[in-house]
Symmetry: C2
């Protein structure tokens, strides 16, 4: 059995006490991980009725639960299980949006080992069903965030399977991807790139 | 703090060993809960490239994790947290689909207490963003499953807030909803009702 340890061990983004756990993965000028930056942006999009996009809870395999009489049920044994989908999905302008967010400390390319087969398969399925799928990649040391359409990712993934290179060069992000510059509100205006993708549909 | 105990305590639908836990909630002729019937139908829709709709993992608030040297990380203390969204979402014909599934043993009406404020709010947000939102309700003793559009649900919910009735009568499901008859594949062809909703958009 293969396990998937989520960054920051967050199983529920909406709870305040996770901030403590998340503090372990802190990058970038603003002291925020990409996940936090995206969550903050999604909160802005939600509260301004622009889009409803949530991070999915981390899947947990529960083995043992205590049900004390006068207090909340307590999970006493559980394991992280492999996510069968990507981390984020939701709705924007009626369209289904699906993506994953990844950070790399590499400076010249993005290693495909950051993805699992099942995540790629999920995105292929969503794309087939008419969804808009992509990945958001943060080159931490360059402090640059790119949105790359799933089809560009599939291209490299499928080539890798047949002996091709095991990473996506930075130049591909620069040429085919969408650079996302930091704003105030939202912090990461990634739906601007989605607008451009939609125009070409 | 309010806790939300999920039916069957499933945190990861894809894992086989949950079947045991789920067995606690078994209704209907076929010995399946509505959740299992929907999951089975979603598996059919997925494997036939019709739609990609998944049940979200149950949100868990993790407090304590052990990291043993030679084996998988073990969650030693965690709590069920309140879901901020509905249980199911995904993509069908490019459209964002969002719904919740509820069972009732009532025979003449569906109590609105089955819904939480945050679930209704989430559906309102999704509907505003152009998504297709609804609820699937199973009247267990009648062995009847209906799909009801979110706007019909909102109508009763909002009336309740201003002193209206606290349940949706069966007749509303019969007149405004879509009766879903059992099939072989998929077991519950609820996307047929979604097709009818889409035609009217």
């Amino acid at each position: 059995m293969k396990f998937n340890y989520p960054t920051g061990v967050t199983a529920n983004n909406s709870s305040a006490s996770n901030a403590k756990v998340n503090a372990a993965t802190v990058y970038g000028k603003r002291g925020m991980s990409l996940e936090e930056e995206i969550n903050t942006s999604n909160t802005y999009y939600l509260s301004n009725a622009i889009a409803v996009i949530h991070k999915k809870p981390t899947p947990i395999q529960i083995v043992k639960v205590d049900y004390p009489k006068r207090s909340a049920a307590t999970i006493r044994e559980a394991y992280f299980s492999k996510a069968s989908t990507t981390d984020y999905n939701g709705v924007y302008k009626g369209k289904y949006i699906d993506f994953d967010a990844k950070e790399t400390t590499n400076t010249t390319s993005f290693p495909l080992s950051n993805f699992h087969e099942h995540q790629i398969n999920h995105m292929k399925q969503c794309q087939n069903a008419g969804g808009i799928c992509f990945t958001i990649v943060k080159f931490v040391k360059l402090d640059k965030i790119f949105l790359l359409k799933a089809e560009d990712l599939f291209h490299f993934w499928d080539n890798k399977e047949t002996g091709g290179r095991k990473s996506i060069p930075l130049s591909t992000f620069e040429e085919n991807g969408y650079l996302i510059n930091y704003h105030i509100n939202p912090l990461i205006p990634y739906l601007d790139a989605v607008d451009q993708i939609m125009k070409k549909l």
